[in-house]
C-alpha cells in the first residue's frame, strides 16, 4: 500500500468547534515525562500531524510530573490508622466485640471494620504499619443495638422501675447512626424503629417526629455556622411541632449543635438529652446523678 500525501485541509475543528476553533488554533500542550524519554515518537509524530492540520501544540513552560500512578491509588490507608488502632486495642484487651455510644465514633469504627473485613490487602498493610502480625476482626456495636438484640426491649420493659409515663419524647437519629446504610446496617435508614422501641419500653410517649433522620449540621458548625444553625433549628422546631418534652440523641456532635443553636439562634426550650439518661432514669437511678442539664432537670420536675 502506498501512502499518498493527503490533501491538507485547512485547520478546522469538529462541527461543534471543540478541538480547534477557527480563531484559536493553538492548544496548550502537556507532553508528560514518558514522551520526553521512551515515547518520543508519540510526541514527535503528534506535533507533526498537528502541524499539518494547522494546530499548534504549545508546550507548557516548566511543566512537572502529572503524578502518574500516585494520583490514582486507592490504597491510601492513613485515615484508617486511628480506627484500626482502636480495633487492635479491643482485640489485645481480649474483646472481639466493642460497644460504642457516640454516633460519630460508632460510625467511624463500624465503617472501618466493614472496610477492613473486605480488604485483606488494607488489613495487611495496616498490620505492618502497626507492627502486628495480623489485624483482628472486631465487631463494632452500638449500645442501642445491644439493648435491642442482646437484652431485648421486653426484658428492659420488665426491668423498668420508674416508667416514664406521660413523657413525650422525640427520638433523634441524625445521620451517623444510620448511614451509609449498607456499611452501618443498624436499622432502616429512612424509617428507623430502634430508638422508638427502646423509648416505648421505658414507658415514654414517642412522638411522630419528621426530622428524626435529618442532619444536625455536623462540622459545618466550624466553617459554615449559618448552615449548622439552620439544620439545628429545623430539627428543634420539628420537635416543638410534635409537642415533644425531650429531644433524645445519641451523638455528642448533634447534642452540641442543637444546644448551641438554641443558645444563639432561637431557643425552643426543648431539652436535648442522651438516650441512656432516660434509660437509667427509668431503671431507677436518681435523676440528679445522670447529668441532666438545667433545662432537662426542670422538665423532669414539671413532668413528675
Amino acid at each position: 500500500m502506498v501512502i499518498k500525501p493527503a490533501a491538507v485541509r485547512s485547520g478546522r475543528g469538529d462541527e461543534e468547534g471543540n478541538v480547534v476553533d477557527q480563531e484559536k488554533k493553538t492548544l496548550g500542550y502537556y507532553p508528560g515525562c514518558e514522551l520526553r524519554t521512551r515515547a518520543q515518537a508519540l510526541d514527535i509524530s503528534a506535533r507533526k500531524a498537528c502541524e499539518s492540520l494547522g494546530i499548534t501544540l504549545q508546550e507548557l513552560k516548566d511543566w512537572t510530573c502529572c503524578g502518574g500512578l500516585v494520583a490514582q491509588v486507592k490504597d491510601n490507608y492513613m485515615a484508617l490508622l486511628a480506627p484500626a488502632r482502636v480495633l487492635l486495642q479491643a482485640h489485645t484487651q481480649g474483646f472481639n466485640e466493642l460497644a460504642t455510644l457516640c454516633a460519630f465514633c460508632f460510625n467511624t469504627l463500624r465503617r472501618a471494620s466493614f472496610f477492613l473485613e473486605r480488604h485483606p490487602e488494607a488489613r495487611r498493610k495496616l498490620a505492618t504499619f502497626l507492627e502486628v502480625e495480623m489485624l483482628p476482626q472486631v465487631r463494632v456495636l452500638h449500645l442501642l443495638e445491644v439493648l435491642r438484640d442482646r437484652v431485648g426491649f421486653d426484658r428492659i420493659r420488665a426491668a423498668v422501675r420508674r416508667p416514664l409515663q406521660g413523657l413525650r419524647v422525640a427520638p433523634y437519629y441524625g445521620c451517623l447512626l444510620l448511614r451509609p446504610a449498607q456499611e452501618i446496617s443498624l436499622d432502616d435508614p429512612e424509617e428507623p424503629t430502634l430508638m422508638e422501641g427502646l423509648l416505648k419500653a421505658l414507658g415514654c410517649d414517642v412522638v411522630d417526629f419528621r426530622s428524626r433522620t435529618d442532619c444536625c449540621g455536623s462540622y459545618h458548625i466550624v466553617t459554615n455556622q449559618g448552615v449548622a444553625a439552620q439544620c439545628a433549628q429545623v430539627i428543634l422546631h420539628s420537635a416543638v411541632d410534635a409537642k415533644a418534652d425531650f429531644l433524645v440523641a445519641s451523638c455528642p456532635v448533634c447534642q452540641f449543635n442543637l444546644d448551641w443553636s438554641q443558645a444563639g439562634h432561637g431557643n425552643t426550650g426543648v431539652p436535648v438529652v442522651y438516650f441512656p439518661q432516660l434509660l437509667a432514669l427509668a431503671l431507677g437511678e436518681p435523676a440528679e446523678t445522670l447529668g441532666f442539664d438545667e433545662r432537662g432537670a426542670a422538665m423532669l420536675r414539671e413532668g413528675s
Partner: protein, 242 residues
C-alpha cells in the same frame, strides 16, 4: 549553631587511629575512629559544637540528630550523645525544631481539654499514626499522651510526658504538625498549678526565703575566694542514691 573549626591538636592526641568509619556530616565525608558517638565523631572531625550539645549524657535533649544509614532510605533520628556512628552514615544535627510556643499566665488557665485545644488546635488533626512515639529518643509513649490530651486527662499527659527532653524530634516527623513537647509542657504546668496538692514543705521553704532566712549564708559564700569555694564544693555531702 555550630562552627567548623579545625582543631588539629586534638586529632593528634587521638592517634593511633585503629579501625575507622567513613561518615558524612552535612554531606562532607570524614574518616573517624569506630565506636564513637555521633557527638564525639563530629568533634573529632573538627566541629566545635555551640548549640546542639548539652549534658552529653542523654538527659537534656539538646543534641537531636537525623541520619540515614548506608543502604537504607529511611530517615532515622536519635540523640547525638547516645547514638553510635556506623560506616556510611549521613547525618546532621537538629539543635532546635520550630514549634509555636504560646504565652500564657498559667494561673489564669483552667486545667481542661478546652485549654489545650485553644493553644494547640492542631491536636484535633492527630491520626494516631504513632510516628511521634517511634522517633522519641526517650522511648516515651508520645501518641498516648496526645490521646490523653484530647481526652482532657491532664494528669496522664503529665505522667506520660514527664521524661520529655523537648528535643523536638516528634515535631519534626508529625504528619498532623502537632507541637507535642509544648502540649506536654502546658499539661504538666496546668497539672502542677491546679491539679496536684500543694506541697506544704515548699510553701514553708518559700516563706523562709521571703523572710530572708538564707541571706546571711548566701552572703558568706559570696564573699569567699574561689579556692575556698572549690574546697567546700569538693567536700560537699551528696545524698546517697536509693
Amino acid at each position: 549553631m555550630f562552627q567548623e573549626e579545625k582543631i588539629t591538636a586534638s586529632k593528634e592526641a587521638h592517634a593511633p587511629l585503629g579501625e575507622t568509619a567513613r561518615i558524612y556530616i552535612m554531606g562532607k565525608s570524614h574518616d573517624v575512629p569506630q565506636g564513637l558517638t555521633i557527638l564525639k565523631a563530629m568533634e573529632y572531625a573538627g566541629y566545635r559544637l555551640v548549640r546542639g550539645v548539652g549534658c552529653r549524657g542523654g538527659f537534656c535533649g539538646a543534641c537531636a540528630t537525623v541520619y540515614r544509614k548506608a543502604g537504607d532510605f529511611r530517615l532515622q533520628v536519635g540523640l547525638a550523645c547516645q547514638t553510635g556512628i556506623e560506616d556510611g552514615m549521613y547525618l546532621a544535627q537538629i539543635p532546635f525544631y520550630p514549634a509555636p510556643k504560646p504565652l500564657y499566665d498559667i494561673r489564669e488557665l483552667t486545667p481542661s481539654a478546652e485549654t489545650l485545644f485553644r493553644f494547640f488546635p492542631e491536636l484535633a488533626r492527630c491520626i494516631q499514626c504513632n510516628t511521634c512515639a517511634k522517633v522519641c529518643p526517650q522511648g516515651l509513649d508520645v501518641m498516648r499522651y496526645i490521646a490523653a490530651a484530647q481526652q482532657g486527662d491532664l494528669r496522664k499527659v503529665a505522667e506520660l510526658s514527664f521524661d520529655c527532653l523537648s528535643c523536638g524530634l516528634c515535631v519534626s516527623r508529625c504528619p498532623a504538625e502537632v507541637a507535642h513537647y509544648h502540649v506536654g509542657m502546658l499539661a504538666r504546668r496546668l497539672c502542677g498549678a491546679h491539679l496536684v496538692p500543694k506541697a506544704a514543705h515548699l510553701r514553708t521553704r518559700l516563706q523562709e526565703i521571703r523572710e530572708g532566712g538564707f541571706e546571711e549564708e548566701l552572703d558568706k559564700y559570696c564573699s569567699m575566694d574561689k579556692q575556698t569555694l572549690q574546697g567546700l564544693y569538693a567536700q560537699r555531702v551528696i545524698e546517697p542514691e536509693e
